[in-house]
Structures are given as structure tokens and as C-alpha cells.
């Protein structure tokens, strides 16, 4: 239990969680206008295709891979019992990582070299992209250098993350890990920590509800059938208005 371990594996994850929830909720409530994906496709579209598409699909694949390994570690272990399946999983995850990294590098290059894009690039955008590139690079390093990650993630990291979420942090296993893996974990917390201060908030408002809402949307300022009816009683409460 060195101070290093306490700071980075107990304090940091809680700080990240707190900041994530408080920060995003505050930002959503107080500065809704600033809640946007801030798409730059309007200024540059061709290079964006080769960056945004591989990056987004890749990161979604990786994110859900990590999420499944965290939520259902036994399922991953069961899958990995046969070497062929283990290799399929590891190879596809690695390819996913490479695709994501290439996409992200394309995005980074595009953002730094295009004169128009520089006008819509803030310092935090650059910091975020640098962080993500490092994080994905580290992830690939871990996957390549410390095999087989999908199995030991389930046995080592899933219990650790679970202990964080159950407020009984147990860092015995995680402190034993090689430094590169620790760095990958620490950076992941840092990225969570800065989500409220970045454009990453757009992930949280991915418009899934579009799938089940009707296409057309009409809004009345008042209940149109009630407003001019003489039967309607005046009340002090606000009536529902869409």
C-alpha cells in the first residue's frame, strides 16, 4: 500500500467517478447549449471519413469488449477455454485496436494540419486526442506483450473494478501488475475524469431514443384542447406542456 498505489488505484478512480457524474450532470443542466459533438465535418469531410469512421466503430468495439469482460468475466473465461476461440477473440480485439489507433491518428493529423480546423480546435481537444492515442497504444502494447489479456482481465481486473464500484477497494492484485498495464488503467481513469471538460460528453447523449420516437414532432405551448375551454379550471400548477 504505497502512496503511489493508493493515489492511483483508489483515490483516482473515485475522483474520476465523482467528477464524471457531478461534472456531466452539472454541465447538462447548466450549460446545455455547450453540449454538442462539435462535428467538424462541415469544414472538412474527406479526411474525416478515414479518421472518424474507423475510430468510432473501433472504439465502440473496444469499449463493449472491456465492458463485457468487466460485467461477465466468467463468460469470457468460458469462451477462452478453447485455444482457437481465445485466439479469435484476441486477434479480433487487437485488430480492433489497430483500426481505432489508425483512425485516431488520421483524426489527429487532420486536426493539426487543416487551417480551417485549427479555428475550431481547443487545447482540450488536442490533449484529449493525445491521451486517447497514448491509451490505445498502451492497450495494444499490453495485448501484444502480456498475453492473454482477455483471460487475466477477467480474473485480475474485473474483481478490482468490481471492488471499486462496491466501495470496498481491493488493490492487492492490481499493484502486482506490470507498469505498462498500470499505466493503461491509470490513463483510463484520467480520461473518465476529464470527460465533463471535453467534447466526449456527446457519447452520453447518443440519440438512441430516435429509434422509437415518431418521425414528426409538434410542440404546443399549452394543452391545446384545454386552453380555450370554459370548463378548464385555473390552477396554480404548471400544466404539462410536452
Amino acid at each position: 500500500m504505497t502512496p503511489f498505489n493508493v493515489i492511483f488505484f483508489i483515490a483516482l478512480p473515485y475522483a474520476a467517478l465523482l467528477m464524471f457524474f457531478v461534472g456531466t450532470i452539472y454541465r447538462y443542466k447548466a450549460t446545455k447549449f455547450k453540449f454538442s459533438s462539435l462535428s467538424s465535418q462541415f469544414l472538412e469531410t474527406r479526411k474525416l471519413y478515414w479518421g472518424s469512421v474507423p475510430f468510432h466503430w473501433g472504439i465502440l468495439f473496444l469499449f463493449f469488449g472491456h465492458l463485457i469482460a468487466f460485467l461477465f468475466p466468467s463468460s469470457i473465461l468460458a469462451w477462452n477455454q478453447q485455444p482457437v476461440r481465445l485466439i479469435i477473440l484476441e486477434v479480433s480485439a487487437f485488430v480492433g485496436g489497430v483500426v481505432t489507433l489508425l483512425g485516431l491518428i488520421n483524426l489527429f493529423y487532420r486536426r493539426l494540419t487543416d487551417a480551417r480546423l485549427r479555428k475550431v480546435t481547443s487545447l482540450i481537444d488536442i490533449l484529449l486526442e493525445a491521451l486517447l492515442i497514448t491509451e490505445i497504444f498502451l492497450g495494444l502494447w499490453v495485448a501484444f506483450g502480456y498475453r492473454w489479456g482477455s483471460s487475466w482481465f477477467a480474473t485480475v481486473l474485473s474483481p478490482y473494478l468490481k471492488s471499486i464500484f462496491t466501495f470496498s477497494p481491493n488493490i492487492d492484485a492490481v499493484v502486482m501488475l506490470p507498469f505498462i498495464i498500470q499505466l493503461h488503467i491509470i490513463l483510463a481513469f484520467v480520461i473518465f475524469l476529464i470527460i465533463p471538460f471535453t467534447r466526449l460528453v456527446h457519447v452520453l447523449v447518443y440519440p438512441l431514443s430516435y429509434l422509437w420516437r415518431p418521425y414528426q414532432k409538434v410542440i404546443w405551448n399549452w394543452d391545446r384542447k384545454q386552453i380555450r375551454s370554459t370548463q378548464t379550471k385555473w390552477t396554480i400548477h404548471k400544466p404539462r406542456n410536452n
Binding site: 465535418q41 469512421v53 414528426q216 404546443w220 399549452w222
Partner: protein, 517 residues
Amino acid sequence: MDVRSQIAMVFHLDKCIGCHTCSIACKNIWTDRKGAEYMWWNNVETKPGTGYPTKWEDQDIYKGGWKKNGKEKISLRGSGKYKGLLNIFHNPHLPVLDDYYEPWTYKYLDLIESPAGDDQPTARPVSLVTGKPLDIKSGPNWDDDLSGTPEYARRDPNLENLSKAEQEAMFQLEKMAMFYLPRICNHCLNPACVASCPSGAIYKRGEDGVVLINQKVCRAWRMCVTACPYKKSYYNWNTGKSEKCILCYPRLEAGHAPACMHSCVGRIRYLGVLLYDADKIEEAASVSDEELIDSQLDLILDPFDEEVIRNAKENGVADSTIKAAQTSPVYKFVKEWGLALPLHAEYRTLPMLFYVPPMLPVMASLSTTDDSGQAVKLDPIAKFWDKNHRYDTTSKTIMQTVEQARFPVKYMANLFGTGNEEKLIEVLKKQLAVRVHRRHVTVGDVDAGLTNDTLNEVKLTAEIADDIYRLTSLAKFDDRFNIPPAHREQAIEMLENAGDTKGSTGFGFKETPQRGL
């Protein structure tokens, strides 16, 4: 019957002189901001021409509007629930800045503050996006008045079904003609932008049908820009939010005409209320191309009909709004007289902005005649006409000139008639009949018999023709703009207890529209 009210507009294209005053009024009020410099919520295009953004009517490029699949259903062409969410990371059909133009200004200070030298200082153009000097390659009205080269006009998507010969005829110098097409958001009944917005930020106001984008809900998914076939939803690259024409709703609510309409020099614009049946919208948008205009006009209800009035009242439409619908100039042009048609109804958004098609060029025909005395009067430059032809405005063949117009009816039909020439000819003949009638009344060189025949052919009476003439030519401000009271005071009372907020500084809070992190 679900009766709702809609503020609708009529643009009388014969009166448009292409002065762009409307565009400037709009720009000065709404889009003179960083990120919005390139936007023209109101713009005026020269037709034939490619328009703004370039070739916006070519839905093979931009994939806007609705398309009909099979027998019943319509679906969004380039967006929608599945396509939209799949293309959210990169929208392949999004028009980009260069499809509009890169906005610029000039370094005027250089004219004053340049050090003394051998050369006259110039004001160099600089981009309003990057701030760097730029070579101006195009602007919002690059092909204004068919300027520069006919190449722009030749690329007009509406020329598609015209034969090569017909196209060539349009561009012969002696026959060249053009007209202006002012465009704003159509505030459609079946808006594709609303349907395409994944966030649900765009909505239609129930009370007056104005289509708006909630700036706090917009997340820059950019689908509305693709979906609007008129390309009237714009992406603000600075704030990361889409914006569009708001029909100056703050002005409307205060009883003023929208800025573009108020400033219109040619007084081409009319604004008024229409009542429509919202239950039938989807049905009306799903009929075949040929029936689209009629089905759209059938949605608009007769504001004098007892049942319509009763249903409207049940639906909370204010008496004042019903009254406004009864005196609406738009209802007269669109329904009573059948003079105004929607622009590109084939996009199936049921636009609520109607155009009276222009009679370009001034209706006249060349008739064969032995009257060599007339031929002498012809301008020597106009040598296209041989001596046996006469520039004729009063001949008995006057009604055929619509089909023989210098500007092909087929072209007009592509714009205003979903390709249906009959529709256009009917409208143009009505306008012509009004002119013949007025010529008979004021000049008197058309005999009464011909005038009556002309009016009868298009089922007009002298009284209606006079009404059309009056609303077209003499209408005063209040005749052109019939704005119902918005009754916002009731809305506010329903939203907030006015007593609770007494002494405070307004409702809710305001957030400065700054770009997010």
C-alpha cells in the same frame, strides 16, 4: 379532423426584381455572427441557375427530402432512423462549406494604414473562417443575373427533362430569359428536417406551424442539413449547432411581418394563416408524383366551413386565428384563385411557401403579319424577328402564347409543378386572363368579347379578376400580411404563475450561445 393553423406564405415571382433586400434584412438581423456568416436563411437565386448551395435541387447529390417506396410508404432519402444513426460518424451526403462558399471580408484598414509606397494599397479579401487571405472562387450569388457564363445556368438540375434543343433554345442570346427565386424555409407540414433529427431538437410549433431548432438539444449530428431538400437548415461550424430560418417568430408574435417580408421592395410577399387537417398529412405526402400538388392543396381547409370552424375551436385554435384564416391573402392565392404553387412538391415535405409562377418574359408573341409598318418599329438590335413578324400583345392568339413562351413551360413545371405542365399552363393562363381583362378595362384595346372568352376559359369572372389584380398590384401592408395575434400572454400564464415571477427579470434563464468544450 385535426384542424391546425399554419402561417403560410405566397411569393409573387412576377414582382420580384432580384434586389436581395430581403436577404440583407435577414442577414443583418439573424446571421451576422461567427459561424453563421455563410448562411443565408433568405436567399434569392437566378433561375435558370445552380443556386445556393450549388445544385441544391440535385437530390442525387444531397439526398434530401422524402422518397416514395412501393405503393404506400414514404421514407427519408438520405437519413432516417437507420441510415441516420449508421452515418452519424460521417454523413456522406452532407454539403460542406465549399458547396456554399467560404465567407470573406476585406482588410479595409490596409487602405488607410499601409505605409507610404509606390503602389496603391488594396483591400485584400480574407477568409472569415481562417482569417487568411483567400482567392474568391464563388459567393452566395455567383451566378446572379446569369452572370459570367451560361455554364452555371446550363447546370440547373431543372433542365433535366428538357431536350437538348429546348435547352439550347433557352440559351440563345436573343431568347435568353431569367427570373428570380427568393427562398426561405418552407415551414413544411411534413418536414424532413424534423423527421431526420436524431436528438429530436427540431420541432414544429403547434400554434403557427413555425419549424424551429432547439439550440439546447441540437448535438450537431448534422442530419437535418442533409434531410432538408431545400437546404435551408445550416450547420454553424462555430457553435456546433444547426440553425435555420425562424420565420422571425419574435416579430410574428409581436404582430410584425418577418424582416424579409417587411423589407420586400417589390412587395412580392404575402403572409397569412391557413387551416389544415393534420390527420391527413402522411396520406397526402404519400400519393403519386402527379397527384402531389392536388393532395397538398386538399389538406388546406375552407375556413368558412362550419364543421372546420367547429373542429378548429375544439382543437384550441383561437377565434382570432380563424378570423385571420378567413381573410388570409395566402388562402386566396392558393385555394380560392389557384394561382400559387409549391416549389418542388416532389420532395414530399408539403412546403407551406407558395409561388405565383412568373410570366417571363413579359407575355407577348410574335405573330405573322403583313403589317410591315409595325416591323419598322422594332429595335434594330432585335434582328431575330424578320419583317413579317410582329411583337404582339393583343392578338386573338394571346392564350396560346403561354405554351409558346420564350421560357419553356416544361422548365417551370419542373420547379413548381412536379413536372406536370398542365398545372403550370392553367396558372399562367389565369394570370394572363387577368392581364387581358385589366387591359380591356384600362387601355381598352382588347374587345369585350375576347376578354370574356379569356376569363371564361379559366373560369374567372371579372370581379375575381379585379380582386386578383387588386391584391397583386395595389395591396397595402395589412392586405399582404395578415398576422393573427399569437396569444403568447396566455402561453406564459400557463407556463408560469405570473404572480410568482412578479418583480423578477424574466422567465427561466439565458445561456450565452458559446461554443462548447
